[in-house]
Structures are given as C-alpha cells and as structure tokens.
Symmetry: C2
C-alpha cells in the first residue's frame, strides 16, 4: 500500500474496520483487488490506504471529495455484489464510518 | 485488537497511517502499548482500532468525543516524548488526519 495523496482538507473518509473469516482467501483477494481498481475509477475518488494484520483484522480507509461520491460507490452494482459476498462469506464483523476530514499533517524523512 | 465501541455519531476520529522503519522493534512495542494504555485514560477517549501488516504499514484510528480531547492528548507530555521518538527512530513517514464521524454502520454475525 502507498499513502493516499489527498488534497487540502476538507474532504471525506470512509473507515472500514473488518474481521475476516477464514473462508475463501483466493476469492476474497481477487475481488478485493478488483474493487480497489474499480473504486479508483469512480468520480470523486481521492485514494485508499489499507492494512491487515496476521489475525485477520483489517482497516481500509478510502478518501473521497464528497458524500455524493461515497454514495455512488456504495450503490455501484459490482460493489453491491461484493458487499453481499462480504456479509455471507468473508467477514464475521465490520464497521463502516463516514467522516469529514477537517485537518491533516504529514511527516516524512 | 477489538472493534471500538463508539457511541452514536457525531464523534471524532484520528486516522494515523504510518510506515515503520526497521529500527528498535522492542522499544517501539513497549511504548506503543504504554501509549494505548495512557490514551485510554484520557478524558474523551472512546476507543481505538489498529492494524499493521507484514510490510510495516499500519493504520491506527482512535476515537474521541471532541476536538478538545484530541488536542489534550496531542499535548500530553509522555505522548509528546513518544512523538519525538517516532520522528527520530520509528517512522519513515506518517499522515495524521483529524475527522468528524458523521455516520456509522455495523455488520455482525
């Protein structure tokens, strides 16, 4: 993963915290990559950051220029299908939080 | 990590995305745990979620009841010292984003 190159605030963030089941690693990986690719072509997409640790706990944060862009992506048909599969197979629990980013700071060597 | 038990929105989130150096794993782990413990005793602290993958990319999201609570924690003296050590030793890059959580959704089996 790279750091998302977001513009000056304000902009929006979707924090997606999830616990993976142990099911279907291959199918999950493929669809996750496909969704990243699709999301990056959506209007208003600014970037994404993602991490998953060895216990299957993951945090993905996607960045958007408006609440409307977030809603369009939520309703996107291939994404809807992936969300259904997420509920039936891939995740035992998740929380999605929609946020407005008010300030940010970068440190870099 | 557990999922943070946050109240109904609005509340605040600090998204901290970081790239670890390969330096000082032991010292880092100790201080990271100590900071989690200290943060959890701060006024306005609501919870924290964290993930770091095998490449050293981590995302930690802490949740707070107000911008004032976030500022108090940022200025906390032991936390200030940890931040200095983070810049000198532990992180090659990080981005901190201060957000207002406007909506959230939970899925659980």
């Amino acid at each position: 993963m790279l750091f998302a190159k977001t513009p000056n605030p304000p902009y929006y963030a979707v924090i997606f915290t999830s616990q993976r089941t142990e099911k279907d690693d291959e199918g999950y990986g493929k669809v996750a990559n496909l969704m990243d690719e699709l999301a990056s072509k959506q209007p208003g997409f600014l970037g994404v950051e993602s991490s998953r640790d060895q216990d299957g706990i993951g945090i993905t944060v996607s960045y958007w220029n408006s609440l409307e862009s977030i809603k369009l992506w939520k309703d996107n048909m291939p994404h809807q299908k992936a969300q259904e599969k997420g509920k039936s197979d891939w995740y035992s629990k998740y929380i999605t939080r929609i946020c407005k980013v008010e300030r940010d700071y970068t440190f870099s060597k």
